[in-house]
C-alpha cells in the first residue's frame, strides 16, 4: 500500500475552518465484510495506532489467520466478544485532511432494527454492504428501507468481495440493476454504487487496478466529497429554547438570554419572530455567544438569543419566523420504531420528548405495522413488539410544535419513555 503521508500532517488553521464533519452509518448482513471495511478505512487513513495494530496482529497470528485481520479493530465489549456477537451501536472516528468522520457502526443482525434506527438518526450517509456473491438479499432491502424511513440524505451501496467474483463488471451491473429496481419504490434521493474489496482494499481508499471498467470514485473520495451543506433545513427557522441564561450579577443585571441549538432555518439579528406557544411577535435583539455577537445563526449552532420585548420564555418554548410556523398540535401521526421488550400498549400512556419539550401522551390508535422487508402495510397484526415499525396516532397533554420529519429531522422526531422504567421505548418520526 502506498504511504499516504498526507494523512499524518496536522491541519493548518485554514484547513480547520474548511474541514467538515460527516456522520455515516454502516449496515450489512453478518459476514458481508462490514468490520473488515471499517478496519480498512481506519487503517488506510492512518487512524490506527501502532499499539492497537500490534494487538490485532498478535491475535490474528494466534488464531492462525493469514494476514492481519482488520475486522478485529472494531471488536466490541467483552461480554459480546464472549458471545461472539455485536449487540449495540459503536462509534468510531477517523479523519482525513478534508473531513472528520463519525461512524455509527450498527450490527446487521435481524433483530437489531432498533440499533440501525439509532445509528441512522443522525447520519448524513448510509453505507450498505452487499456480498457480491449473494447480491441483494432481504437484509439489504431492510437496511435501505430504514435509511429511507430515517431520511438519511445519501445512500452508498458497497458491493463487496469483488475479488471473489473475479472483479466482474457483469456481476456488479446485475446487482446494481436489481437494487435500483427496488429502490425506485423508496424515498432516497441520492444513491451511489461502488464495487470494492474490503479485504484487499480495492476502491476503498485506493483506486483498484483490478476493475478498470469502474469509472466512479473510491469510497473514501465519495465520503470526502459528497455535498452535505444542504443536509440541514435552512428554510424553516426553528429555535427550541433549551435553557434560560440569567447571570444574576451586577455587570449583567438585566441579561436574559435564551440558550439553544438552531433546529432549522437561519436567524438574523433584527428578524421579526413569533414566540410559541403564546403567538406573540417580537424581534431578535441579538444573537450572543461567548466569542461575541453573531449576525446570523444556522443549524446546528448552539447560541443564545435575545428578543426585543420583555416576554418571559422558558424551556420548551420555540422561536420561529412569523410567516413560517410549525404545526402546533396535540395530535400526532408518527412512524414509530419500538425498542422495548414490553410491547407497545394500545391506549398506553408514555412520556414524550420532542425538541426541548416534554409532555405525556396516550396511544390513540395503531394504524398499521410496516413490514420492513416488503413495505407491506399489515392492518391485522397490531401488536407492536421490539424492533417493529408501525404507524401510530398519539394525543399529547399539551401542544407540541412539530414539522414533518422529511422536512426537518430535529423538529420532526420524538421519543417515547416508559413511565414505570424510565427507559426509552420508542423513536418516532412525524408524518
Amino acid at each position: 500500500m502506498a504511504e499516504n503521508t498526507e494523512y499524518l500532517k496536522p491541519k493548518t488553521n485554514s484547513q480547520i475552518k474548511n474541514t467538515e464533519l460527516l456522520r455515516f452509518t454502516t449496515a450489512g448482513s453478518v459476514d458481508d465484510g462490514k468490520s473488515t471495511l471499517i478496519g480498512r478505512l481506519l487503517y488506510d487513513s492512518k487512524s490506527i495506532f501502532e499499539d492497537q495494530y500490534e494487538l490485532i496482529r498478535e491475535v490474528s497470528e494466534r488464531r492462525g489467520e493469514e494476514g492481519v485481520n482488520l475486522a478485529l479493530l472494531t471488536d466490541g465489549l467483552k461480554s459480546e466478544r464472549e458471545q461472539g456477537i455485536t449487540i449495540d451501536v459503536a462509534y468510531r472516528y477517523f479523519a482525513t485532511p478534508k473531513r472528520k468522520f463519525i461512524i455509527a457502526d450498527t450490527p446487521g443482525h435481524i433483530q437489531y432494527t432498533r440499533n440501525m434506527v439509532t445509528g441512522a438518526s443522525t447520519a448524513n450517509v448510509a453505507l450498505v454492504l452487499i456480498d457480491a456473491r449473494q447480491g441483494v438479499v432481504e437484509q439489504t432491502r431492510r437496511h435501505a428501507i430504514i435509511a429511507s424511513l430515517l431520511q438519511i440524505p445519501h445512500l452508498v451501496i458497497c458491493i463487496n468481495k469483488m475479488d471473489l467474483v473475479g472483479y466482474s463488471e457483469k456481476v456488479y451491473e446485475e446487482i446494481k440493476e436489481d437494487f435500483e429496481g427496488f429502490a425506485s419504490k423508496l424515498d432516497v434521493a441520492d444513491v451511489h454504487f461502488i464495487p470494492i474489496s474490503a479485504l484487499n482494499g480495492d476502491n476503498v481508499v485506493n483506486r483498484s487496478t483490478n476493475m478498470a471498467w469502474y469509472e466512479g470514485s473510491t469510497l473514501m473520495y465519495y465520503l470526502e466529497n459528497v455535498h452535505i451543506g444542504s443536509d440541514h433545513n435552512l428554510i424553516d427557522a426553528r429555535f427550541p429554547i433549551q435553557y434560560v441564561v440569567r447571570p444574576y450579577s451586577d455587570e449583567y443585571h438585566d441579561y436574559r438570554g435564551y440558550a439553544g441549538r438552531v433546529a432549522g432555518g437561519i436567524f438574523k439579528k433584527g428578524d421579526e419572530v413569533m414566540l410559541l406557544p403564546s403567538g406573540f411577535t417580537t424581534k431578535i435583539a441579538k444573537i450572543d455567544t461567548y466569542d461575541g455577537e453573531l449576525e446570523e445563526a444556522f443549524p446546528p449552532m448552539s447560541v443564545t438569543v435575545h428578543i426585543e420585548d420583555d416576554y418571559d420564555l422558558s424551556r420548551g418554548d420555540m422561536i420561529v419566523r412569523v410567516n413560517n410556523t410549525p404545526e402546533v398540535t396535540q395530535d400526532l401521526e408518527v412512524m414509530i420504531c419500538w425498542f422495548s421488550e414490553r410491547p407497545l400498549q394500545p391506549n398506553g400512556k408514555y412520556t414524550i420528548m420532542h425538541t426541548t419539550q416534554e409532555a405525556r401522551c396516550v396511544v390513540k390508535d395503531v394504524r398499521y405495522k410496516l413490514d420492513i422487508n416488503s413495505l407491506h402495510r399489515n392492518l391485522e397484526d397490531r401488536n407492536i413488539r421490539m424492533n417493529d415499525i408501525a404507524r401510530i396516532v398519539l394525543r399529547t397533554t399539551k401542544p407540541l410544535f412539530v414539522d414533518k420529519y422529511y422536512r426537518n429531522r430535529t423538529t420532526g422526531s420524538i421519543i417515547l419513555i416508559d413511565e414505570a422504567t424510565n427507559n426509552t421505548v420508542g423513536a418516532g418520526m412525524v408524518i
Binding site: P10, I16, L77, D88, L234, P247, Y255, I417, N422
Partner: protein, 319 residues
Amino acid sequence: MVNPNEKIPSVEQKMANKKTDYQLSYLKELEAESIFIIREVAAQFEKPVLMFSGGKDSILMTHLAMKAFYPARIPFPLLHVDTGHNFPEAITFRDELVERLGVKLIVGDVQKYIDEGKLVDEKGYSASRNALQIPVLLEELEKGKFDAALGGARRDEEKARAKERFFSHRDEFGQWDPKNQRPELWNLFNGKKNFGEHFRIFPISNWTELDVWQYLHVENVPLPSVYYAHKRVVFERDGVLLAHNEFTPRRPEEELKEMMVRCRTMGDMTCTGVWESDADTMEKIIQEVATTRTTERGARADDKRSETAMEDRKKKGYF
C-alpha cells in the same frame, strides 16, 4: 417517509441546496454539540457536578461549560478526586482555573480517606492510588447528592468506550450495566431516573485526542506546564517513563536520568507515564500527536494490566 404521496418536493429546499456557506467547521460542530449536551444537563438535572481530573480533557470541559452559560457562571461545582500524588503544577493550575471561572471546587481527598482508615494504600513498587479513586468518587457523589456527573471521557480512547452513551445511566450502586443503556437518537436525551440513581454524562464523546488538541490550540486555552516538554528526572519501568517523585519507590536497577519529557495524559504521578519529547509549543504538540502511532492510554501503566482493564473499572463506577 416511505410513502411517496407524503412527500412534497420543495423548491426552496432545492434552492438552499446551492448554498454552501452555511456549514460549520468540524471543531465548531463538535463544540456546538458539546455545549448542547452540557446545557441539557443543567436543564434536566437538579444537582450536576463536573468531574475534574486536572487533565486537558477536563480543562476542555470547563472551557465548553463556560461557553455554554456565558455570561453567567457555570451553574455547578467541580469535583476533583485528589490522590495526593498529582503533579504539583496541576494542582496550582486547578486552583487558578477555579478562581478564574468563579466556580466552587469540591476535593475528594484520598489521603484523608486513608488517614481515617476507610481505605488502605496498595503496597509494593507498582502501588497506585488509582483503584482508591473509585470509592472516594462514589462517596463524594453520594455525599453531594449529585444526580449527574459530567466527565471528559471520549469514545476514541479505548474499545470499551466505543458504545458509551452521552447520557450513561448508573444504578444506585454507581454501576454501569452495558445491557441496560438507553438508545440515543437525534438530539433527544432521556435523563429520567429513579431515586438514588444517577447519570454520567460525556459531552465530548465524539472528540478524538487530535480534535481536543486542535481545539485547545485554536481557542488559546491555557494548560498546565507539564503538558509541554520540560527537563525532568525520570526512570524507566516496563517500557514506561515515570517521573521521579517522593511517592514512587524505585527498584535498585531503575536508574534516574534527566530527560526532556512531557505528559500526554494527566494523572497520578505513580502510574502516569511521561513521554520523551521536545514539543514545547502547542504547534509542536499537535504535530507530535498527529504523527504519534501509539494511543495515549498506552502511557498509563494501569491500563496495561489487562486488555479489558478499562471496562472492568468502568463497571465498578470509575467512569
